[in-house]
């Protein structure tokens, strides 16, 4: 299966290990991956801040880069949801609207692609830890993907998953919200960290680098002994010597 990796700007700038893990997991599951060189950013920072025209520029760049792909896969529910927003963002231009629809229709978040397209729920990963999972808002509410990450994590050997209270509450990232509304965002991430601590887990797994950056940033600042990892890092974890 031919898959184009939409790595996301955050991964490219800050979380390249996550990007590498995504590539390795998908390859192991039989995908042939390419990396469209024209990709930059989905445009969400501009779109969510009200700069529609600047977001349109970003969108057109991404559409031109990905429209010939068979499947587009990204390790971020939020960025995938932004691709799904493109047809509406470009609704006033018939040609671009159609091209946007083509791209939107073949875009999948990483875990969603594995479970719903590849139809695989056990990727053979091993990761002994007591962990909890942060449900990211855009993946849950805009992409409406609520099950895929849990199905995959349930099959990771050695991984004990603990329920997270108020998992439906936003972590306070929200892109520019985190700095524009800094005092509110701080309270939101603090409550999230509190709930994570209450689970007694020593590992927090997330599927969106934005949320991760926010929650991990706060956990590290507070000096808490909780690791934060992207789900791709967990799924790419194997026991030495296994295939």
């Amino acid at each position: 299966m031919k898959v184009s990796l939409f790595v996301t700007c955050l991964s490219e700038m800050f979380y390249q290990n996550v990007a590498k893990d995504v590539v390795e997991v998908l390859e192991r599951l039989g995908c042939d991956i390419d990396f469209p060189k024209g990709q930059i950013c989905c445009g969400q920072p501009a779109y969510n801040s009200g700069y529609r025209e600047d977001a349109q520029k970003a969108a057109k760049q991404m559409i031109a880069s990905f429209e010939n792909s068979e499947f587009i896969v990204t390790p971020s529910g939020s960025c995938a949801a932004m691709f799904k927003e493109y047809p509406d963002l470009l609704k006033d231009d018939e040609t671009w609207h159609e091209r946007a629809q083509t791209v939107a229709d073949k875009t999948y978040e990483f875990t969603q692609f594995i479970v719903n397209v590849l139809k695989i729920e056990d990727v053979g990963a091993v990761y002994p830890a007591r962990a909890t999972y942060h449900t990211s808002c855009h993946m849950m509410r805009l992409l409406k993907e609520t099950e895929a990450p849990f199905k995959l994590l349930a099959n990771v050997k050695g991984l004990e998953m603990l329920p997270l209270a108020n998992n439906y509450d936003c972590c306070g990232f929200g892109g520019t919200f985190a700095v524009k509304m800094a005092p509110i965002s701080e309270q939101m991430v603090d409550e999230k960290v509190r709930h994570v601590e209450e689970t007694t887990a020593t590992l927090l797994i997330a599927a969106d680098n934005g949320c991760m950056m926010n929650i991990k940033g706060r956990i590290d600042r507070k000096g808490k002994a909780i690791e934060v990892k992207h789900i791709a890092q967990i799924l790419n974890s194997r026991v030495e010597g296994s295939v």
């Binding site: 930059i40 808002c137 509410r141 306070g172 919200f177 991430v189 940033g217 590290d220």
Partner: protein, 478 residues
Amino acid sequence: MAMKIGSKPFFGRVDEALQDEFMRKAMSSAQDRLRGKKMLATVEDELVGDWEEWRSAGEEIRRHTLDNLDFYLDQLSENFSKRGGHVYFAATAEDATRYIQEVAKQKNAKKVTKAKSMVTEEIGLNEALEEVGCEVYETDLAEYILQIDDHDRPSHIVVPSLHKNKEQIRDTFRDKANYTGTEEPKQLAAFARSQLRETFMQADIGVTGCNFAVAESGTISLVTNEGNANMVTTFPETQISIMGMERLVPTWEELDVMTNLLSRSAVGQKITTYVTNLTPQLEEDSVDAPKEFHLVILDAGRSKALGTEFQSALHCIRCAACVNVCPVYRHIGGHAYGSIYQGPIGAVLSPILGGYEEYGELPFASSLCAACSEACPVKIPLHEQLIRHREIYVKEKAKTSEKLAMKTFGIGASSPSLFRLAVKGMPAMMKPFVKDDSISGGPGPIKLWTAVRDFPAPANSNFRKWFDNHKRGGGTDG
């Protein structure tokens, strides 16, 4: 007072709210409780069947009604008048209060009892009635508490006194009304009841809001739990009901659906204790109906949303389901919004009704988590409307520096070579701030981030190179 709450700027209000530990605890526990109750009465109630179908029906009914608003308003007005009621269309809040003042003067009214109504808060009706010499009595328990507490303002559209606990209410009752009992809720309610009982019977005018008006019969439908609306509308000879011009349904069939959506979404009840439906009485000798029944239909900015991308904001049935799931409201409470309409719907509605000058910051007080859109029983795309507001706001009011930054973003995000340069240059640019793979100071907006959290150090390697190398069968090192 009207729609606006307080005079401090937005961040001043937010800081004040964040320091109010009690209020914040009250908000979060109320949210958790209401969320649970709502789930039990909606998605988890077998009798409901598919809740999503109900939401779709609600959306359809609201859209149809708003698309044909002129027709249904006409029908409502005709049917209400035909049965002897008086209809007044108020273009502004001032028009509405002036009309009601006139009625009060004509009736030589001294005492006015009121059922809970946000729209009367919106137009500042209490003050207007006091101006013409009326004593106004709020009879909804929560509104009564606020009123005797020196006219405190509502912090929630369904539970206006949510920011107060029972101990505070006890103290208010003691200070303002010579209460001698305990903080036990039953005792507090019994006290308010005893205080109000006489007043109900002496009132000259009863004022209510309107949850839904039924166009086909000219009926005002009120949803309450305390029965006070029945008292307000039964004793006085004159009744005045005020409704936003969008608050109507075509027929009783739609009323059934909407009442279900409202009570289940608002408080997790299958149906509220009272659903009071009032229609002007034709019979002269009718014993339990007011002799005079006025209906004030208020525009006050609503029609500005008609035919625009904000029209669906008028679909709102004021259940506060969005408020009850909003993580921002959870921490800052209602007063920080500076509007009687708080939470996500408040952030959408307030700029429409009151303008961007006063309420332009509210649409930014959201992380766009979309919990509001998901909760809305009539499927208003609230988080999308917040973005639409931002689009208008930044065109008019954004700082030049921000506009420039976004323009640069637009250029950078459509030029791969520039983007690669930026990614390449970033580690060097950020180097002075990096310590142990994370950043805790930093320039510009990063400083706002790092004031409370670490920021990841930019990767030193080049993923694109790694990928090319990897595809050629090279090692896994970047």
